[in-house]
Amino acid sequence: MSQQATGQDLDALYQEIILDHYKNPLHAGLREPFEAEVHHVNPTCGDEVTLRVHLGGPEGRTVEDVSYDALGCSISQASTSVMADLLIGKTVDDALAIHTEFLTLMQGKGTVVPDEEVLEDGIAFAGVAKFPARVKCALLSWMAWKDATARTLEGQAS
């Protein structure tokens, strides 16, 4: 289908929550300690994120910190902020479940009803799913987090 957007969709895309996170991102900056640092880019537009993950707690299964340095559009910046706020303090298993939920929402082409219990501010991205070109923006840091977490878990195992 062609990507036809109206003014209404624009407001659905740029929810207040998104613009707030864009202007005042949470947990921004790169911090110590961390077990893995990754750098992901969106090759079509050049948006990029450097992201660090620190796992701690019992058996290292808690997301103690997600810190980042990101350059990009409002959608990618806000998504990074929302993600960090959602995932910090969760167990890795819970965080991965939230990741899956967010991914399902973004890949649902606007048909998935988001669960606010799980995604909290993340539900604001429901409108992004209707803009195929922007889904990648919203997912950039989520993919980076998953990559960094996988590397950290690999490091623990070896």
Binding site: L19, C45, G46, G72
Partner: protein, 425 residues
């Protein structure tokens, strides 16, 4: 309508030639297409010519003995004549059809690695490109120099977005085998001094490869009319930016150079005779056209260049300059907007990249799109040029022969709206 000197006098008639300009977008908004540097729209005559070819003349070229084959071959070769005339090429055999500009550049870079004798690029040789190139004129040369042990060097840019030629004597030396650069920058709009750089490169015996992907759509080109010292040795462009279809590009090369280079792809059509022990190759242009070519695309390109010829490249150039000047005036009224590249619209091509303070280019393009204004956001395949100016990405408007001053007004109005939408300023 605004009266601007240089504007195509028959602009409304020209617009009627492009059916897509009549469609509307979501919400019934008219289309304001300002992304022609990315790809241009197609006039009815190109669409009709291609349909007619498929409906009436379709056959393979060069290898079919029947009437349709003769017609298809004639149409294909006629397209080559049209391209040769469009470029003012000294000989029609010097025109090679490729898939696009990228393939043409890769053809040159690869065959230079495989060449024997003088032309061969190897260890110790230098290839010079520039910091304002499209990735298509950087990466093939990186691949070439990495594989052969040659060195890749490049011209930097001045703060004003021009090529910095101050170290030309350090870059173009006896070791320099190739100098390649874009005629018109797709990001900065800069028009580069082809004759001056080519002359200097020829003094050291280097080959000059010009990327005319953005020049061919908007500047008159007359290769045969250039003094030999100033004429590039190889030049490429891509069909879809010159109101032609996708899937077709052009490599023009000086006969002696093309004859000295080995084949690029092997296959049907590029051979003279094939024996299991080895083959001999066809002469140019067929030596570089292995396999069934993009026939209907070439025919469409021929129709496109004929169309541009009827409008007149001089007139199109004047139109682009008028629109660019008008856009510069409009953009200057948008607070927090900075144009990248040369500040004088008179010396630019029809692409204008800019930044809008406080709003990321993606978000600018998104809001403009909802207003029916199509622009490009990102690094426009010119990441090094963006890095040079310390920006990660930009928004780019690009006009063409069908662009009206009213469309520029719509862009400017939408930019003001974008600022208010994002509550900046």
């Amino acid at each position: 309508m605004v009266e601007l000197p240089g504007l195509l006098p028959e602009l409304e008639v020209v617009r009627k030639d492009f059916p897509i300009l009549e469609r509307s977008l979501a919400g019934g908004l008219p289309l304001v297409y300002l992304d022609s540097a990315n790809t241009s729209q197609k006039p009815q005559i190109v669409i009709d010519t291609m349909v007619d070819h498929l409906e009436r003349h379709n056959a393979n070229v060069a290898r079919a003995m029947h009437q349709l084959g003769a017609e298809a071959s004639a149409a294909f070769e006629e397209a080559r004549d049209t391209v040769a005339a469009f470029l003012g090429a000294p000989s029609r055999d010097e025109v090679i059809f490729t898939k696009n500009a990228s393939e043409a550049l890769n053809l040159v870079a690869n065959t230079l690695a495989w060449a024997k004798g003088d032309r061969k690029i190897g260890e110790g040789d230098v290839v010079v490109t520039t910091e304002m190139e499209h990735h298509s004129n950087i990466v093939p040369w990186q691949l070439l120099t990495e594989r052969t042990g040659a060195t890749l060097r490049w011209f930097g840019l001045t703060d004003d977005g021009l090529l910095d030629l101050s170290n030309i004597d350090e870059l173009i030396t006896e070791r320099t085998k190739v100098v390649t650069f874009t005629w018109v920058s797709n990001m900065l709009g800069t028009i580069n001094p082809v004759a001056e750089i080519t002359r200097r490169a020829h003094e050291v015996g280097a080959l000059v490869v010009v990327d005319a992907s953005q020049a061919a759509p908007q500047l008159p080109i007359d290769l045969a009319g250039m003094p030999e010292t100033d004429r590039p040795d190889l030049l490429v462009f891509t069909g879809h930016k010159t109101v032609g279809p996708t899937g077709i590009g052009v490599l023009w090369g000086r006969r002696e150079v093309l004859e000295a280079l080995p084949p690029f792809l092997g296959g049907g059509e590029m051979i003279e005779t094939v024996r299991m022990e080895g083959s001999t190759y066809a002469g140019i242009p067929h030596k570089f056209e292995a396999g069934t070519p993009p026939i209907v695309e070439a025919v469409g390109l021929g129709a496109a260049l004929t169309y541009l010829g009827h409008v007149g490249m001089e007139h199109i150039h004047a139109h682009e300059r008028a629109i660019t000047g008008y856009a510069f005036e409009g953009l200057a009224t948008v607070p927090g907007l900075t144009v990248l590249g040369p500040g004088d619209p008179a010396v630019r091509g029809g692409a204008i990249s800019f930044e809008l303070e406080g709003v990321h280019p993606h978000d600018v393009a998104q809001v403009l799109d909802v207003r029916g204004v199509a622009v490009r956001a990102g690094h426009h395949c010119a990441r090094p040029a963006h890095a040079r100016f310390g920006v990660q990405s930009s928004t780019r408007m690009s006009s063409y022969l069908y662009t009206t001053p009213a469309e520029i007004d719509a862009l400017i109005e939408a930019l003001h709206y974008t600022r208010s939408y994002f509550k900046v300023g």
